[in-house]
């Protein structure tokens, strides 16, 4: 017998298959974060250490990869394989949840690659905190991936629409979360906006956790922000998938 869990498993393993067949694609999709790491980190003022910067880059890598993931679905909508899946008995929510869950895999791999690259340059790894950080980040990515798929389902055959919305939202979210530069250094209005950006809390939590500060209050606020995005994304995405024809 099948149920939502087995259906989700089928979709998840199908999504993961091309990644396993060609693992290099995971590294390939993190070119941009690596460029920021290589070219932006050396420009940082002295008071901002690699220890401060690297967790931001880990989140950025998740943000770039996961926000684009809808384009895979968009392509499958255009070529016809999404339609084929819709005719199978797979439960509609599984079609979304399985896909979104798969996003966690590249996020974890990419975080490991970034940390590995930075270790020789004096980055200090606190494993326990980092792992907890990845859990929070994974929940966030689950929601973000769902939203990206929702956008793909809404855009359908208008590819430009997907990319316009994705690109328009990506950088404000990123900058207003203090991912590249601390938001506290700026004027009041970005700080006010940042308070409404759930990503801000995730980034703050990652910074504390990657430094081994597991008991910081940011861990709780970060986890809450990630849970809100995760649950909200899944809810919106599942509804969109159920309406998909």
């Amino acid at each position: 017998m099948t149920n939502l869990v087995t259906d989700t498993g089928v979709v998840f393993s199908r999504e993961l298959r091309p990644v396993l067949r060609n693992p290099f694609t995971v590294v390939f999709s993190m070119v941009q974060p690596l460029i920021f790491l290589g070219l932006f980190a050396p420009l940082l003022p002295d008071e901002l250490s690699l220890q401060w910067f690297v967790p931001g880059i880990v989140v950025m890598s998740c943000l770039f990869g996961t926000s684009m993931t809808g384009s895979n679905l968009l392509f499958e909508i255009q070529t016809g394989s999404h339609e084929r899946m819709l005719v199978t008995p797979l439960r509609r929510p599984a079609l979304l949840i399985g896909r979104a869950l798969k996003e966690i895999v590249p996020v974890v791999v990419q975080a490991a690659v970034i940390v590995a690259i930075c270790l020789p340059f004096g980055f200090e790894l606190h494993l326990g905190g980092a792992l907890l950080g990845l859990v929070i980040l994974s929940v966030f990515c689950l929601g973000l991936g769902s939203l990206s798929y929702t956008l793909a389902l809404a855009a359908k055959n208008q590819e430009w629409l997907f990319w316009t919305v994705q690109q328009t939202l990506l950088f404000p979210l990123l900058l207003l979360a203090g991912m590249l530069l601390p938001i506290e250094a700026g004027p009041g209005w970005p700080q006010a906006l940042a308070k409404w950006n759930p990503l801000t809390y995730v980034v703050d939590a990652e910074r504390a956790l990657f430094n081994g500060d597991v008991w910081a209050s940011t861990t709780v606020t970060g986890a809450i922000a990630a849970a809100v995005v995760g649950a909200g994304g899944l809810l919106v995405g599942t509804r969109a998938m159920q309406r998909s024809t």
Binding site: R14, R17, F75, S81, R84, V87, P89
Partner: protein, 317 residues
């Protein structure tokens, strides 16, 4: 296998399908024929549970397409207009995950995938990325995807669009074989007349969202058009004389006499002998068999070939 009652679908203010009543028995091979925008694909999409009807009902493989959605999905195979296999995946992987989607165990899905790869001649390409396959290979892979769970009822939406003549013939052979071997009920849509003619025992002609004819290709042609013998004479008087002697429905235009009669190729020599016996000898003779396009022209006043295609929807809206 399929039973619809006043099946209707509107898209905003476009009436794509307007009240289709249709019964398909197990083992039938039915072609839905009509120009683009006639409502063929919309009908198919309702029967395969992709879109709900605006009104009316349809039972497919024993279950209602709305209330028994999952049961219907379990029992049917669907090969859409696009590629079922994702371009980023490998063919065999897609076949296995397709089997799993229908609740098959991994080992069973793997075995069944290997069987289909073999029978659809995909051995050399099954382990390559789908995007590197040719159009014909992809189409065969799509067929394999649709057959993974050995459905008793198979829907194909424009299966041969975009294929070259050789691949089309190949595909038609696979479909006909499938039915002969397993007794699969098959419904396909097409706007290729020769395809409907060659494969289906039953052709349902759809235009403006309605069924306008439903019969075997042979009967459709005989009833609505019939074969024609066209005789060309030297003089109009000969043509007129011949017209009065021929015991069939005929129509003269100048020196040309068109005789409409079923089974024209068999009758033509006897007819010519009779005419020669009375001293009427036509200068040239042409026998035209009715085509489904003639049928469509007769029924709608438009030709399928001219892509009388985009017009209908525009006119209707």
């Amino acid at each position: 296998m399929i039973e619809t009652h006043e099946l209707t679908r509107h898209f905003k203010d476009v009436q794509a399908v307007r009240g289709i009543n249709l019964t398909v028995k197990p083992g039938e091979l039915v072609a839905l024929l009509g120009p683009n925008g006639a409502g063929k694909s919309t009908t198919l999409r309702m029967l395969t549970t992709l879109i709900p009807p605006t009104s009316g009902t349809a039972r497919v493989a024993g279950h209602d397409v709305v209330r028994g959605q999952r049961e219907v999905r379990h029992r049917i195979g669907y090969i859409g207009q696009g590629n079922g296999a994702a371009h980023s995946q490998r063919g065999r992987d897609e076949l296995i995950s397709q089997g799993r989607a229908y609740g098959m165990k991994v080992a069973d899905a793997r075995r069944r995938a290997a069987e289909l790869i073999d029978s659809l001649d995909l051995g050399e390409v099954a382990d390559r990325t789908v995007s590197t396959l040719s159009g014909g290979q992809r189409r065969r892979l799509d067929i394999a995807m649709g057959l993974i769970h050995a459905p008793a009822l198979l829907f194909l939406d424009e299966p041969s669009t975009g294929l070259d003549p050789q691949n089309r013939a190949n595909l038609q052979r696979h479909i006909v074989e499938l039915r002969e071997r397993h007794g699969t009920t098959i419904m396909l849509t097409t706007h290729y007349l020769d395809e409907a003619d060659a494969m289906a025992e039953r052709v349902i002609v759809i235009d403006h969202g309605r069924i306008i004819a439903d019969d075997t290709p042979a009967r459709l042609k005989n009833e609505h058009v019939g074969d024609r013998i066209i005789l060309g004479f030297e003089h109009e008087t000969d043509a007129a004389a011949a017209a009065s002697r021929v015991p069939h429905k005929s129509h003269r235009y100048g020196t040309e006499l068109t005789i409409t009669v079923p089974g024209a190729p068999r009758l033509v020599t006897g007819l010519l002998d009779d005419l020669r016996a009375t001293g009427l000898s036509p200068a040239d003779v042409e026998v035209k068999r009715a085509t489904l396009d003639d049928v469509f022209l007769e029924l709608t006043g438009r030709s399928l070939r001219e892509g009388g295609a985009a017009q209908p929807t525009l006119v209707e809206v």
